[in-house]
């Protein structure tokens, strides 16, 4: 039905003459043969990984990852720097920021339950009133705890979230040619 034969001749001409980048790599599926060899290959590959394990996961929470510098984690507001322009509230896509009045100035508070860490508010703030951290793995006991008051939001996030038991060291992720991810201890 949609074969090219019943096409309009002028379109055919256009198809032949027109400019279109065509860079096609023809992929051939291998012929179904040598199944004994391929079975042995598969088993040998499995056995190689068994003898030389290449572990990629990290033993959380006994080991913890320190994320790269620009990681978008939780943040706090410097209420003194804030000029009360309310742009962060306007731009927040998740409606996580609520403004409260303080010294006749509208200062943001955040609902961590809604925040999606897009950092639009951080980036739109004309005075850099937000100070960012790499903290991201926190848990709250109640829904209401995620609604920060202004007092809380001006503090470092790990000062008011329930403390988490970190047993072991911090590690940094390094991309490795042979192992994919390698974890380097910090400090």
């Amino acid at each position: 039905m949609s074969s090219r034969e019943d096409l309009d001749p002028r379109i055919k001409e256009l198809i032949n003459k027109g400019v279109d980048k065509v860079r096609v790599l023809n992929v051939k599926t291998p012929p179904p043969s040598r199944s004994v060899q391929r079975n042995i290959d598969a088993l040998a590959t499995g056995f190689r990984y068994l003898t030389k394990p290449m572990r990629m996961t990290i033993d959380y929470p006994y080991k913890d990852i320190e994320y790269p510098d620009r990681y978008r984690g939780m943040f706090r507001v410097d209420a003194d720097k804030c000029i009360g322009c309310s742009l962060c509230d306007v731009v927040c896509p998740a409606d996580a920021i609520r403004l409260v009045l303080r010294d006749k100035k509208k200062v943001p508070t955040i609902n961590w339950g809604r925040c999606i860490f897009c950092y639009y508010c951080v980036d739109i703030c004309p005075v850099e009133a937000f100070e960012t951290y790499k903290i991201h793995d926190v848990a709250f006991y109640r829904f209401e705890d995620m609604l920060t008051t202004l007092e809380e939001f001006t503090k470092r996030p790990d000062e008011y979230v329930p403390p988490r038991k970190i047993v072991g060291k911090k590690f940094r992720v390094v991309i490795d040619e042979n192992r994919g991810l390698r974890y380097e201890a910090i400090g």
Partner: protein
């Protein structure tokens, strides 16, 4: 025949072919300024003929069937994106636009020409209430069975956000 100010020669020749073929059928053919999209405006009675012609011209699949609601003008605008897998022609997308009566939007189904429109038409039916005549299987697609509102994508559909502690479904 072709639209002035277009630099792409392929688009020029495609436009002239389209103009030749569809002159009697449609009210307007124009390309937008990115020179990748061709808009065709057509009366809804002619839409089947247009579809057959376009199929003959190599536009072999539908990328999207949807609608735009204009409640002030009391119309729904059917918006069909048609594309092609054929070389050269595939560089351009055709957007078919057709005004429908907002109170009783009925239009013949495009699945008889483009089977790829089947699920898109089901979505447009449940979201906008556009009834596609002779569609093989016009049922709800995305909305839950117990959904009671009508045509949620229309502009006059009221979005009710759920209040805290409210157990019932927000649309009830």
């Amino acid at each position: 025949m072709s639209q002035p100010g277009i630099k792409d020669p392929d688009l020029n020749s495609l436009l002239s072919i389209l103009n030749d073929e569809l002159k009697e059928l449609v009210s307007k053919i124009y390309a937008d300024k990115t020179e990748k999209v061709i808009y065709i405006e057509v009366a809804k009675e002619r839409i089947m003929d247009l579809a057959k012609k376009l199929f003959y011209l190599g536009f072999d699949h539908v990328k999207s069937v949807s609608a735009v609601d204009y409640p002030r003008e009391k119309r729904l605008e059917l918006m069909v994106h048609v594309g092609s897998y054929l070389r050269v022609v595939r560089k351009y997308t055709i957007v078919i636009k057709s005004s429908l009566d907002r109170d009783n939007p009925r239009v013949p189904t495009l699945t008889s020409v483009w089977p790829s429109a089947e699920f898109h038409e089901r979505e447009t039916w449940e979201m906008f209430g556009v009834y596609f005549e002779n569609h093989p299987d016009l049922r709800r697609l995305l909305l839950p069975e117990e959904f009671e509102g009508k045509w949620p994508m229309r502009k006059d559909f009221r979005i009710v956000t759920r209040k805290a502690g409210e157990a019932e479904a927000p649309w009830k």
